[in-house]
Amino acid sequence: MQMTDPLLSVENAKISFRTVVGQVDAVKNVSYEVRRGETLAVVGESGSGKSVTARAVMGMLAPNAIVGEDTKIMFDGEDLSEWPELKLQDIRGRRIAMIFQEPLTSLNPVYKIGDQVGEIITAHRKISKADLRKEVVRLLDEVQLPDPETRFSQYPHEMSGGQRQRVMIAMALANNPDLLIADEPTTALDVTVQAEILSLLKDLQKKHGMAVVLITHDLTVVSKVSDTVVVMRQGEVVERGNTQEVFENPQHPYTKHLINSEPKGHPDPLPENAEPVLSGSHMSISFMLKAGGFFNPKLTELKAVNDISATIHKGETLGIVGESGSGKTTLAMAMIKLGNYQKGEITFQGNRIDQLSRKDMQPYRTRMQVVFQDPFSSLNPRMIIRQILEEGLIVNNIGGSAEARDALVRQALDDVHMPHSALDRFPHEFSGGQRQRLAIARAIVLSPEFILLDEPTSALDLSIQAQIIDLLRELRRKRDLSYLFISHDLKVVRALCHNVIVMQRGQVVEMGPTEQVLTDPKTAYTRRLVDAAFNVVA
């Protein structure tokens, strides 16, 4: 790599937002630069200001943003922060392109793929219709979408998340940009797809000689893909440098903390001859899908769970892994009678529960609890934390007096390492990791014996994931819990689960002790999951 002038340099960026509760400083004095052919990774937790800085480069900040006076955004020798909107419009999509996190919402559902990619081209240059089509097909081919000719006239809903992200990349590449900003391009994708998208990005960068700014919270991605790295925390750069050097010898304690926050460790050894807590045998769940027209209705059966048996013993953590749509959540929710249920036998501590009505389930509810994936929607925004935690105690008549309930609630907060000052606050005042702790507190306040964990870490930043995993392990030990742990991330599963079930399209493809399944996968599907989790980019 020859030393040239940086293509993009952000100098002294300072961005704040006007809000009802006063001015919030999102970015304080951030500088970084990236050269042609180089990949810069900007790493930090959510709220560290990494995306805001990138949006400032594109001139795409929310209207309530205030950009500091000393902020300079030099792109190829010119200061973009002084450019008017019209001039910026010309440069966006032509010289600077951006890929967003959420491929499901960043494509317009009513236009065909070909039209959407073509629009980027026609917005910046004149091209004949025939050439446009050829160009779009070439781009779709370049991002390795199978059968690009057919894709041209497909709609976004006909494609998977990974394929849509490829389309987004094709759109970004349409005008051969000098700079590509990728804002968490793989976070919303399944692990197996993540790896493919990253290697695609890397290949394309080499081929086109672009500069890439990769925004991410995932350090494994950083170490495999980027040349230089900038670590951000609370709107400030805490460390910068060559990726390899930073990883080998991190200087700032926060960087060390991030590098050490990979989920690690192993589950505590399983007690021998533990009795089963929850077991299901030959469970099947199917949904009827309507197809055909009004006059010619056809019902097709979708088998979400197909004849699966599983048992969780006392003290055990059983993992269920699989890609999205593999039926893992449907299965688990059915086992605690929170979802649709059709066939098979479910036994909880020796009692058959599969035929019980919702009312009859009431006595079991305190003994089996659930923690959901998204901490932002699992706490009622109109209730304070005390009300949220108390609810289960009130409906089940636990604790009797208000003082006794208060003591139980405070005990649960202590157990999840949250301060008691949280009690009178509303959910929106907490970060994602804190909310997930509160959701766990809501589950453990009832002193359950079994908790279903439905991807409790996948909506969280990596460094916070590790803390939640530590917390879960600690609670399991302290309260003698059994877990059913749903995840698509094998790293987390390895750190937490004794046994694992691998699911694909409603069926078990492999099951057994975690170490055995991970080190010696029997099926190609499991091998693909393992490769994706532990060897990000080949």
Binding site: T366, M368, S378, E391, G392, P419, Q434, R442, E474
Partner: protein, 381 residues
């Protein structure tokens, strides 16, 4: 063993999230809404005007110089009187109005009114006037009026010599009462039906939705006309008022019920509701503590939009003579007096209620817009 407690050396900075729990005052959702609303100028102005209108309606007997039925036989179709502060000789005096000298056009026999300085009427505050009842007690003090009971008609009089200004203030009571009754009843019915439909699902939902479609497809004007046809000619005006309000409610609740049904279906599958099911909460608790509080902003905004609609509907139907009946006074009833061109041309001041209708509709819409913006959970300012 990588317990986080052991993991951290004592002097390492604490990157655990616990240290970052927000300090300072905790703002609830409604406090945030209030803050955001206070920053919205149009909304605030709308709210102030709405408050003034409601206040006027409540204290109409005190604010109005006359009762709506008082007839001044010496003043038929007199034009509005200007409040003056400068006397004939140019000096500043206490506020007064001028009485009218009647002149008859010898050709057309038309009577015209000219302000005459000989008939000066001084205005006073807290003057004694006609008795009125307020909260069960009888008073006779009015906020202002002519001293010693001299006649004052700020907005002129109608064909029977009744004071337009007083009638307009009294009219706001019936019009607003109608709006509030309809709003309240439609909200209660709409919420109940909508929540039932969305939460129960299945067959109940299907039946309720078909009923809503039937109600919404019903042509409303014939229904109001039918009301007039059904009621006896000399029916009690109160009965007409209640029947009229009932019909409007019957036609209005369906919109809210349908909107809320959709919201309930969305909220029902959100994880905090499923978490409540998981701790064993029953349906009543889930609806009362989880679903309705999360829809309250929607209901409030809907209510502020439905009020101006009812005001318009009332005045429109009463103008046609199918709504509220004399001797009840509402803005619409007052407009009914100017339905022929002759009275419109000779006494345009009878259109004064139109101003009030426009003002109140704009004010309630501004309030509704402001509330909607302030309650938007996705607002980022």
């Amino acid at each position: 063993m990588t317990d986080q407690m052991i993991d951290q050396t004592p002097d390492a900075p604490d990157f655990n999230m616990n240290s970052e729990v927000a300090s300072g005052p905790s703002l609830s959702y409604w406090q945030l809404v209030r803050k955001r609303f206070q920053g919205n100028r149009t909304g605030m102005i709308g709210m102030i005007i709405c408050c003034v209108i409601v206040f006027t309606a409540m204290f109409a007997p005190f604010l109005a110089p006359y009762t709506p039925a008082t007839k001044d036989r010496t003043a038929i179709y007199t034009p509005p009187q200007l409040v003056r502060f400068i006397s004939e000789d140019g000096g500043l005096t206490r506020p007064f109005v001028l009485g009218f000298a009647e002149e008859m056009n010898p050709v057309t026999y038309e009577i015209t009114f000219k302000p005459s300085h000989e008939q000066r009427v001084d205005l006073g505050l807290f003057v004694q006037g006609e008795d009125y009842k307020f909260l069960g007690m009888t008073f006779s003090t009015h906020l202002f009026g002519g001293v010693d009971g001299a006649p004052v008609h700020f907005l002129g009089t109608d064909g029977l010599g009744r004071d337009v200004f007083s009638r307009m203030l009294y009219g706001s009571r019936i019009t607003l009462l109608m709006g509030l009754i309809v709003m309240g009843a439609a909200c209660v019915i709409g919420t109940f039906v909508g929540v039932t439909s969305g939460y129960m699902g299945g067959r109940t939902d299907t039946i309720i939705q078909r009923v809503i479609e039937f109600v919404k497809s019903f042509p409303d004007l014939p229904l109001y006309l039918a009301l007039v046809a059904v009621l006896p000619r000399r029916a009690d005006p109160m009965l007409t008022f209640i029947m009229f309000a009932a019909i409007v409610v019957v036609l209005k609740w369906a919109d809210l019920a349908r909107e809320l049904r959709g919201k309930v279906i969305a909220i029902r599958s959100v994880e905090f509701v499923r978490a409540a099911v998981a701790v064993g909460a029953n349906d009543r608790r889930i609806i009362g503590r989880h679903i309705i509080p999360n829809m309250s902003s929607h209901i409030i905004v809907w209510a502020t939009y439905v009020l101006p609609e009812v005001i318009l509907l009332e005045s429109f139907l009463s103008f046609l003579g199918v709504g509220i009946q004399q001797p009840m006074v509402s803005w619409g009833v007052m407009l009914n007096a100017v339905r022929d061109f002759q009275s419109l041309a000779s006494a345009p001041w009878l259109l004064a209620p139109v101003g009030m209708i426009i003002l109140s509709v704009l004010a309630f819409n501004a309030l509704g817009d402001g509330l909607r913006d302030a309650m938007d959970p996705y607002a980022n300012d």
